[in-house]
Amino acid sequence: MAAHTLLMSTGARLRDRRVRLERRATASKAVRGSLVSLAGLVGGPVTNQAGEEVGRLVDVVARLYGAESYPPVTGLILRIGRRRTFLAADAIGKVHAGHVRLRAARVDLRDFSRRPGEALLARDVLDHQLVDVDGVQVTRAADLYLAPLVDRVVLVGVDVSLPTLLRRLGPRRWQARPTPERVLDWQAVAPFAEEATEGPPEVRLRASRTALHRLRPADLADILEDLGRAERQQLLGWLEPEQAADALEEMEPAELEALLREAQPEHAARLVDEMEPDEAADALRDLTPEERESLLTRMPDDRSAELRRLLAHREGTAGGAMTTLLIIVHRDATVAEVRARLAEQAEHRTEIDAVAVVDDEGRLLCDMALFDLAVAEDAAPVADLVAWRAQFGPPVTVRADTPLSEAADQLVAARASSLLVVDDTDRPLGRILADDLLDALLPERGRVHFRRFLQ
């Protein structure tokens, strides 16, 4: 029964996907006619103006990491006899399906040396991993499509379909025929060629990089989990540290552990530093003591001290799952002042759903929900709100060593979305959020990991 529904839903998903892909594909006839398949070109003849064969095409060089939105072809690598030589792009006359015709009868050949931002398309991009930003997935380039324009040839799209792979397995006649069933626009992919880190820095904000910034943290986390090691580190390098940290918070603990382990310690430390404190502590808990120390010592002192405090709590207790990001206000403050404090913390909006109000000693008086603040008058002192809240009984709090299951019961009883964690003297230590509780209490559901067979 369950299997049946699974298959049904798979079918439905596949249908949806096909519809989506058809919309995404550049399916217009005119485009199809003008596209040239790279897989069909490689190994094909290169002829001069008179139609005599000069050599065979080995690879196409394009400036992948340039300012242009579509990478221009900057040259060809040919095999002439037993020698491999480079031919600059200005010698190209016409690019047909399966063969290249040169502009002149004489060709000016040089040895190839890679310039910044250039990549060899057949060697570095074809058959390698890339991120499809719209489809939010990691895939491999089954074919690349070039479009001959008036004065240059540009790389316009990537084909990622299975039929294309089968086409490439077939005889040469099939190979040159473009099959743009599922072509991704080059603007919507992030390729990983070796030269990605070279070239001027402003270049690295290509269109697709900015497209990467459109991805939600959870999607980015999925993509990071699917990428190979080198590609994964490259992608992390492209992202802003804050964005990368948001994605890391969404990753599977085991995957995150692997990622931090393989990153340069400085980089890993910066990423962990950017994560929310509770998530960062969770991530560090998974590492060995040596690895943990090496990251902590590379962070700012106040930050590492805070994380060390969090790490002292055991996993499975409120202290182990809490975030130390708190907004604590004195009861003499006005509502407007509290709002200003909140405005400063806008980047942490997901971690704040209430404000802790304390007395002169720093002891907790009340855990003020944002709703109460939202409906209060600007000039009203917080003390009034505290007095009003007092009729509903004392604030519900847990201790750092309270087991998570018990904390969950408390949360349900209090009908709140978070709970304050306080020490023995009633001073707020941190806050435990409902989603962290869910994370800790819900088992993994319905995701099959190959890794499971190795544990």
């Binding site: 839903s9 998903r13 390698h128 090691r229 060995t288 995701r447 499971r452």
Partner: protein, 434 residues
Amino acid sequence: MTRDLHTSSATKAPGTTGAPAARSTGWRRLTMVAAIAGPGLVAANAGNDAAGIATYASAGSQFAYGTLFFMVLVTVALVMVQEMAVRLGAYTGKGLGALIREQFSLRLTALAVFCLLLANTGLVVSEFAGIGAAFELLGVPKWAVIPPAAILLWALVLFGSYHWAERIFLIMSLAFFAYPVAMILGHPDWAAVGRHLVVPHVEPSKDFILLAVALIGTTVSPYMQFYAAAGVVDRGAKPADYPLIRADAVLGAVFACVISLTIIIATAAAIGGTGPLNSAAQAAEALKPVAGQNAELLFALGLIGASALAGAVVPLSASYAIGEAVGAERSVSRSFRDAPLFLGLFTAQIVLGATLAMTPIDVIRLLIGTQVLQGLISPVVLVYLLVLTNRRTVLGPAANGPRYRIAATAVVVGVATMSTILLGQTVLGWFGLG
């Protein structure tokens, strides 16, 4: 889930002096091994499944101690091959499927994928045949067992409750650890054993070659290299962890082969020289010194556990490698619903495997036949492995040095030669010239 038992206490170890600290570092290193290691050990020992047991037992019954020296050679081959696989995994962070796609032409990739799929489907057949044979020992006909077993395994893996089942299977497969005990209690001729371990012994007969190829196939299974590399990658091991990983792979391979040797010796002591093995019941004879009347029950338990264990891992590892090569990386780590290719491959292997295992052919012949198939395909996969580990562009300084290259090439050529001889003999046999 057992991760912070030692780590949290280690950070708070108060006032440790020099020596204990050093010892605790050693201990921590050990736990580190346990954290990273494992794939090599698991992968190599998954070789002692139903088909493996059948092949080793057959070697013992047909040639007594005659195949021991050959097994020593196979051990050396397995150690080298597994080491190459985990080295690729640790240094590149990519599975073998992905590496082959990136380093070879698409046609060669397709060839590798096809070989792997063929070999693995053969293995799945043998796992289900093993389950059938085990239940027949317990008096249940195989046609009543194999289909439900296939559906159960498929569902367990798909709906994520395999976790617990796996442990049960693992405990059941521990029954085979009775073999070393049986070997000692069976009073084999130790002098002969020692002699056969060190003195080369090859018989030119077709049966011997066939069995030798089956021994290669069941020990150096193509899927194991993929599996070991994937395991290393999944654990996020770095080049810095490579010494640990290598130790794990080498120890795992040696351990697996030692178990194989004990199976051969125990069977040889019990029923050696009685000609080819003809039933699972006969193979269970070797466990008599340990279990007496319950030998068959013990053997059946072990067979069910080992077969079910491998029956899930084998089709998964093929689907994993192919998903990687095609570029559907999603399918490897996402839910099955997002992964039609992965799901399809996995299901197809199970269905095909179970169907073929139902054929009314003699179980032992079927089991050994699947291993011969593995042995024939193994050299193809090994060539890929060898080329990849020779390439400096892939491994940089960790690529094979000149000496290692010669040794590894010798291993691959040796395995390929055996397969070629067998193929030649088989083809000649068709024309009545064998």
